[in-house]
């Protein structure tokens, strides 16, 4: 779907000749002539105009009736009047109508001072009402959800929230109930409006009808300041505007950036700011007491001294891990500390095994990079082994927008049923952990005849019905194809097969086509590019090979490594194979951690804890999955004894006798731009508030070239037995929900969303195993590792697969290991074989 190209035309508005792009709506076109036409229901982000509020009536020469500017496309030679007596009369009439049932309780309304109804009444209204009858009454305020209060008396029925629910998030929960003057907004089934994007309706509401319960009565517009920032809670890196009162974060609003977020935020981004001021936050350095083994508060000097001591003693037996929220600057400094200061090559920012650096270089090639906006205009989008709504929620909305408005053909290829399945032209499931065989089969489906037995065998090896693969390949015809994939695809030989797929789809040659990889963590791409990798340095340059994440866990456990430096990272929480990390951290001589919250791994194992900055306090840069480098700027001051990470890393380096010579955050950013070859020449000023995509800059040519790739190796390891469930065992897949984050757990507003572990299985497997919905079960993997949870029977789950949530506080999928699991009732009905009994082998 090519992007619309619009030629400029000239039209006249209030006597001014104005040039504006043809066919944009008059309400927008008027702005080109510095004329404001008041609107309530019109919001271009919500799609087609509805013309409901009638606020934007204007006079157009040649048309007898007044027209709504929100729905009239501008044409060459059009003559528009917005100031005539007729228009004025209509505008005053609409304001009068809107206010007759509005309570005008502005002094106690949160919206007061930033309310379009106030502004428009003042600017375009008649100033008085002739309505003397009693107004409409509703019970108020009501909880539309635990996050949103609804005041139906204030509602002017502009449809924005309902349209958001129906046409943007497509959750279809909000509707207008009753009709005429009795109309009110509510949910279809009367249940609370809960969804990952519900908070957007607060921002959309042009009156005080929908207010944030977390922000209610906390501040008035004249008490607050806004600060542009970037959300660091997931790789989508939405642009935000932080509301600050007295140096405290009060609220997060969207800061529209069409290249990133399209002006939306998810509820995690909107409400998890509460973690910044949480009582659970670490605000002072801590060291582990030698006597009682507990973490206790310390001075910076003590903590830095303890850390230096540990590092000096360990020498090059130190490893480093950078977690998802770390900035490019922090990542670069960690690399300097380890590689240059301590001589250790063992650092990683990816939770799983290393990927061949040449594959990484090939995957970073500028002509392979798709931008976020490409999702909206591509001919086809393939969602491969990721769940956008959980991993980068805002991309889910962007994909929906493309499908709904531009007819993008969507293909979904995942193990776990996807939220995008209902709007996909084709969906295919593959067995958990079988993405590589799946890619081999998909490549075959895209290139060869798909009739033969060979093809069926390839499909079977992936656990995918051959007809689903054919349908998927059918949906991927067209020139501009964007592949959105989770970086876990790279595991095994996946990176090579992904490049093979990119070749088959010819995405490199076409503008608007490409790959968009969603990393495991927020700044996964940036940390990789500044060299937090076991096999590549800053700018993906050659570097001595070191241990990757699993290797570090092993090295710590077997004593080859002695100290681990955790930069905003708790591997117990975020990395696969929890047991290996438990063992590794327990065996380490020292664990030095920068952290904002004492997550379980840090609490149990850290020797030294440095309090970390919150994103709202940080200065630095991040790199978006599509290569956009974005800037973080401090909106509030650091609390208590918190010091900037860059400062602490420099200080540790200096104490180790390796002065990095960096005296400010700005200097650190310059150092990043100087060290990463393809970031060369960037400045913070160039990044500004919108960021810059490095693949579109000339310096992108400095990306190190990788030798020509050969055909990827056929998938190794055992082929799938996914089509059956041998011995009652199921293939385990894991997923990380949008809500699985420590920030969510400590944000009071989001508490209600923390979920208990559930194992998702198919109805067929449930019946074979004799399990019922909600039943209490134990999921066993290798050895005696187990997770206790409840059964969730989902029709869409393929037979032979089971899914558990990862990244959660208790009973996370990471505590299991191995591909196959067994599920057993936690308590047998007759009381025998209690929760701790070892399972009897169920019949095959």
């Amino acid at each position: 779907m090519p992007r619309p190209e619009r030629a400029d035309i000239t039209f006249s508005i209030d006597g001014r000749e104005v040039r504006a792009p043809e066919n944009i709506m008059l309400a927008d076109g008027a702005k080109y002539g510095d004329i404001e036409i008041p609107v309530f229901c019109y919001e271009p982000k919500l799609g087609n105009p509805v013309g409901a509020c009638r606020m934007c009536l204007v006079e157009i020469e040649g048309i007898p009736k007044l027209q709504t500017a929100c729905s009239t496309p501008i044409k060459d030679g059009m003559v528009v009047h917005t100031q005539t007596a007729r228009v004025k009369e209509a505008q005053e009439a609409v304001v009068e109508f809107l206010l007759i049932n509005h309570p005008l309780d502005c002094p106690v309304c949160d919206k007061g001072g930033e309310c379009p109804l106030q502004d428009i009444s003042f600017g375009w209204g008649g100033g008085r009402s002739r309505f003397i009858e009693p107004k409409r009454h509703f019970q108020k305020p009501l909880e539309l959800s635990p996050l949103i209060a609804i005041d139906r008396e204030r509602c002017i029925l502009c449809y924005r929230c309902v349209r958001f629910s129906q046409e943007i998030s497509e959750d279809y929960q909000l509707v207008l109930l009753d009709r005429g003057a009795h109309t009110f907004v509510g949910t279809f089934d009367g249940h609370p409006y809960v969804g990952p994007f519900s908070g957007n309706i607060i921002e959309l509401c042009p009156v005080g009808a929908l207010t944030s319960i977390a922000y209610r009565f906390r501040a008035r517009p004249w008490d607050i300041e806004g600060a542009g920032s970037v959300c660091t809670l997931c790789p989508a890196q939405c642009n935000t505007s932080l509301t600050v009162r007295d140096d405290r974060l009060m609220r997060v609003l969207a800061r529209q950036h069409d290249g990133v977020d399209d002006g939306w935020l998810c509820d995690k981004g909107r409400f998890a700011y509460q973690a910044v001021h949480s009582d659970d936050r670490v605000t002072r350095p801590m060291v582990r007491d030698a006597v009682d083994g507990e973490l206790r508060d310390a001075t910076w000097d003590e903590a830095l001294g303890a850390a230096t001591e540990l590092l000096e003693a360990a020498g090059d037996r130190v490893a480093g891990l950078a977690g998802s929220g770390a900035t490019n600057e922090e990542g670069l400094l960690l690399g300097r500390l380890l590689r240059d200061g301590l001589g250790s090559p063992d650092l990683d920012s990816r939770p799983r095994g290393a990927v061949d650096p040449d594959e990484l270089r090939r995957l970073a090639a500028p002509d392979l990079q798709a931008s976020v906006a490409d999702l909206e205009f591509a001919h086809g989008v393939l969602v491969l082994d990721c769940e956008p709504i959980d991993e980068a929620p805002i991309l889910d909305l962007r994909i929906r927008k493309g499908v709904r408005r531009n007819g993008v053909r969507l293909a979904v290829a995942t193990s776990r049923p996807s939220a995008l399945d209902p709007i996909a032209q084709a969906s295919a499931r593959f067995a958990p952990g079988h993405v590589v065989p799946f890619l081999e089969a998909l490549s075959a489906a895209l290139s060869e005849s798909t009739d033969g037995e060979d093809f069926d065998r390839l499909a079977q090896a992936a656990g995918t019905p051959p007809e689903d693969l054919r349908a998927l390949a059918g949906a991927l015809r067209g020139e501009e194809i964007v592949v959105v994939y989770g970086e876990r695809v790279w595991d095994g030989a996946g990176a090579a097969w992904l490049l093979e797929l990119a070749g088959r789809l010819a995405v490199a040659a076409v503008d608007g086509a490409g790959l968009l990889g969603i990393p495991d963590g927020t700044n996964g791409r940036g940390l990789r590019e500044v060299g937090v990798l076991p096999n590549a340095g800053p700018g993906l340059a050659q570097a001595p090979a070191g241990r990757d994440s699993p290797g570090i866990a092993e090295g710590l456990a077997n004593g080859e490594l002695s100290v681990v430096y955790l930069l905003s990272c708790d591997p117990i929480r975020t990395h696969p194979d929890q047991q290996a990390w438990e063992a590794g951290l327990a065996a380490a001589d020292g664990v030095i951690a920068h952290t904002m919250l004492l997550t379980e791994g840090i609490r149990a194992h850290a020797s030294v804890v440095f309090p970390a900055e919150a994103a709202a306090e940080k200065e630095g840069t991040l790199t978006h999955p599509d290569g956009r480098i974005q800037r973080l700027r401090p909106a509030i001051g650091r609390p208590d004894d918190v010091r900037a990470e860059w400062d602490v890393l420099c200080e540790v380096s200096r104490r180790l006798g390796h002065d990095l010579g960096l005296a400010s955050a700005r200097a650190c950013s310059s150092e990043v731009f100087a060290s990463v070859a393809f970031y060369a020449g960037l400045t913070l000023e160039e990044l500004g508030g919108r960021g810059v995509r490095w693949p579109t800059r000339d310096a992108a040519a400095a990306l190190p070239q990788a030798p020509q790739a050969s055909r990827p190796p056929p998938p190794s390891g055992p082929r799938s037995n996914a089509l059956g469930s041998p011995g009652g065992r199921l293939l385990l897949g894991s997923f990380r929900s949008i809500w699985a984050a420590p920030e969510v757990e400590v944000s009071p507003a989001l508490k209600f969303l923390t979920r208990e572990q559930r194992v998702e299985i198919s109805p067929a497997d449930a019946s074979t195993l004799g399990l019922r919905q909600d039943e209490d079960v134990l999921v066993f993997s290798d050895g005696d590792r187990r997770v206790r949870c409840r059964v969730e029977i989902r029709n869409a789950v393929p037979v032979g697969s089971a899914f558990l949530e990862a990244g959660i506080h208790a009973g996370s999928a990471e505590s299991l290991s191995g591909a196959l699991v067994r599920i057993h009732r936690a308590m047998s009905p007759n009381g025998a074989g209690g929760a701790d009994a070892m399972p009897a082998r169920t019949g095959a």
Partner: protein, 433 residues
Amino acid sequence: MSASLLFKGIDEPGLNTLKVYESRGGYASMHRALRMPAEAVLDELLASGIRGRGGAGFAMGKKVSFLPKGSIDKYLVCNADESEPGTFKDRELMQKSPHMLIEGIVIAAHAGQLNHSFIYIRGEYSEQATILEAAVAEAYAAGYLGDNILGSGLTLPLVVHRGAGAYICGEETGLLDSLEGKRGNPRLKPPFPAIQGLYQGPTLINNVETLCTVPHIIAMGGDEYAKLGVETSTGTKLVSVSGHVQRPGNYEIELGTPSREIIYGLAGGPPEGREVKLWFPGGSSSPVLTAAELDLPYDFNTLAKAGSMLGSGAIIVVDDSTPVLDVALKLAKFYRHESCGKCTPCREGTNWTVKMLERIDDGSATPMDLDIMASVQDQIIGNCLCVLGDAMAMPIGSMIKRFRGEFEAHMEAAQLASSAAGSSSALAAQGAL
């Protein structure tokens, strides 16, 4: 002068069955039309000059010619949601001669090259819907609906869909939303249904009577049909006459017949000893006319020139026994109840108008309220998303203009009555002391 085209032999027993309908020459026009090229059928419709019988009076042939060409899914929707107060002509047509409608639909579909058709019938017309469904089944069995009708290559399924009883679903775009399974709210126009209607496809929407006329146009030829009536209002029209007349009912007239002839001649005029006070010429949403305008010829343009409209062709007569306030209040309450609530002026304006009229009735209004009420009607007219708001504001506005004296007298009388009631209760209270 009464004419007979649609109503010719309408009361013949069993006309609703295929057998009787065909024995009277039914479906002959369809046979003939299907042998003609689509363009030729369209030409006949254009030549006939027939204007839509649903209310807006838009030329039907022109509407068909607006449909985009090309082989995409195109829809024909028959608007049988006859909900304009005072209108009951489509009911009689569907009840007594359902095959005439089906025949008209098939011919119109051929003319517009449409390949799906629906009859959206209001839920209250349960009996008529049952009759229609039986007729549709007969037509399918006879090969007049479905695949490749009479070997002409025209494939046309027909679905009878029952509405749930909302006035707004008679508005064409509200009807489309409702037919799609959504809340029946009007859509923004443009795009007009001919370009983007049902399921986003090109859609021809016509009223029952309009489609029922189509077989007759084909039978007699468009030019011949155009000779009936007057220049800008060709053909015959079914008029539903109700209210204070001695013989209420449906009458078929040639357009241009003097209104007095319809009200007094056909319907017998008001009961003995009473005079016509006001009359709605085209359903409850048309601005009212007075006895002085009874001699106007009953056609589209004349009535428009007189400040009203022919609308759905429903004449409601109100005689001097009824206070104009009662009429206004009844009307305003109907439109308040039926407003969908989507656009501001209609939602708030209908509600406000009812409240003001109620105040006139209970004696708490002042003459200034009449000015406010008139100005509120002006604020509604032309500013709404669809015509429902206008449908209340136009008649109410016309009543205030034409009967202001009566409103003021009513107001005064109500004030006196309420102050008398107030003082007598005050006296009673004193007495109790």
